[in-house]
Symmetry: C2
Subunit: 342 residues, 2 copies
Amino acid sequence: MNIALDVMGGDNAPHEVVAGAVLAAREYGVAISLVGKPDVIAHELGKYDVRGLKLPIVPASEVIEMEDKPANAVRAKKDSSMVVACQLVKAGKADAFVTAGNTGGALTAGILHIGRMKGIQRPALITPFPTNTGFCLILDVGANVDVRPEHLQQFAVMGSVYCKRIMGVPSPTVRILSNGEEQGKGSQLVLDATTLLERTPGITFLGNIEGRDIVNDLADVVVTDGFTGNVLIKTAEGVGKLIRTILVEEITASPISRMGGLLAKSALRRLARRIDDSEFGGAVLLGLSNLVVVAHGRSNANAVRHAIRVAKQASDFQIVNEIQAGVHEIGASAAERQSQIA
Amino acid sequence: MNIALDVMGGDNAPHEVVAGAVLAAREYGVAISLVGKPDVIAHELGKYDVRGLKLPIVPASEVIEMEDKPANAVRAKKDSSMVVACQLVKAGKADAFVTAGNTGGALTAGILHIGRMKGIQRPALITPFPTNTGFCLILDVGANVDVRPEHLQQFAVMGSVYCKRIMGVPSPTVRILSNGEEQGKGSQLVLDATTLLERTPGITFLGNIEGRDIVNDLADVVVTDGFTGNVLIKTAEGVGKLIRTILVEEITASPISRMGGLLAKSALRRLARRIDDSEFGGAVLLGLSNLVVVAHGRSNANAVRHAIRVAKQASDFQIVNEIQAGVHEIGASAAERQSQIA
């Protein structure tokens, strides 16, 4: 198992990315190809005791910056760490590509240089979302802003397979995000996709879910278009941050509540951990012929470590082959219906 | 000033609704027509000292239930509290309609029985959303699931006028919700609407906003389609509830943190109040020839009181006439551009 890691991507690159790679190599025993500027990487590696760890350096002279326009940058910067890392995967020298860099760049590099899985129209980003008892999975959270019903159908299949293998849920339940829980509520896209989802083999589709019920464990997998999904996860992030800010403001406002805050410190820390997305390992781009894991731009070493863990698990569980089989089944079932009608 | 209040609508109707009406009549000095089953209302009113308050009972024998299909129910239940209340407004006997009942029912009753404002294609629901320093306004949060760019343009004008008058912001800033802050990021709808918004007279349009930045006071008004807006506010509600649940779980998990929670109790209460939507007065349906205020289904007396306050303010500030003028201006400006091109 070898993971191609974009060392140059992310707000805290390269130091936190290399630190995360060292942690992951030590903990999971995987080889991690560190792709980027060799001198920079060597300097960072010098800070750790890396004896016995497999952390080869793969040179790449350019960097796709956070501000770069993805499509242009991926085409122009052929020796960028993202492109070189994807080419390692394509050539079979790595099993997955992990980055904390420009999300659009990662998607574009993945699609152009790793390539779409056969039969998949639109790769989608899937990410865990916290709930009362753990988390559910949401896709698409930003790879496709405008989608058709059949794309949502493929998202449901990819999400189910991923949930089954990664979370060990035997029959994951799937719902579609809508503006009301009642059947018949939703945009035209939701209504049309519902018709398709109801007759999709291999998934357990339970209908609509509202934004407020996602936290209530009503579904293992929630499907939506990448525009709405992106608004959803970013709104959740904003609200979480707002509440933390207000909490700190109010607790430090008086000596008594400040004392209370000190006594409740470990509880507050556990709260932070349960909703902290750096434990979740970032979003995974499903639907390519190999895996791409996109960690949050502001990832620290711990978030990078978890992103590598997610890449390793997905690869261990042969997610790509499983998704391929699931998508093939939709096609076969549609063809069968066609022949019955004819 | 007279407000037509649907006494039968909401999870806590009629007791909390009547309680809220009594509070509002006392505090704001408005007349409130209590629309619903006379015996039920009389019984509830009997619990309070209402001497000197203007709280006339207006009989309506039917109720549009939370589970009713809005379009059918509004047509079938002609003597429902919602329909009768809207007819009071239409007949000029009341200045606004307030309900905590079925949102779809309120929209349908408003559109059918109060009627659209001249020139408005789609009425939209506007609601306050908490930010670091106060709140911003978001519309549409659920009246229109599928919209066209020109609808978003009208939403921006309606939202600006409302913000200017109700919040006293002289030149409210407007942004469009998207999946990235950079210009050029967004669905086709967002891109097309942006072109229109950039040349809309009377608004201060600043481009895109992401879900996570809404709390950061980057805009006074955020426009979006009713599907995405609905997902946004409900996700925020769900996340807020999740964090409260986890906070209580973690604080009560050990005796020391429980003690801390007790000491920080007033701080936690202030936190709850700052993000509690019952203080916000619900959502207002803009674009009808008079005002409709839709409070949350689970409104308590305090939320009903605030919804009545919002209706009173909007009526005091002649929001309807102001919006009419603003929308007229878009039309005039578009006609002028046409004539310059010709």
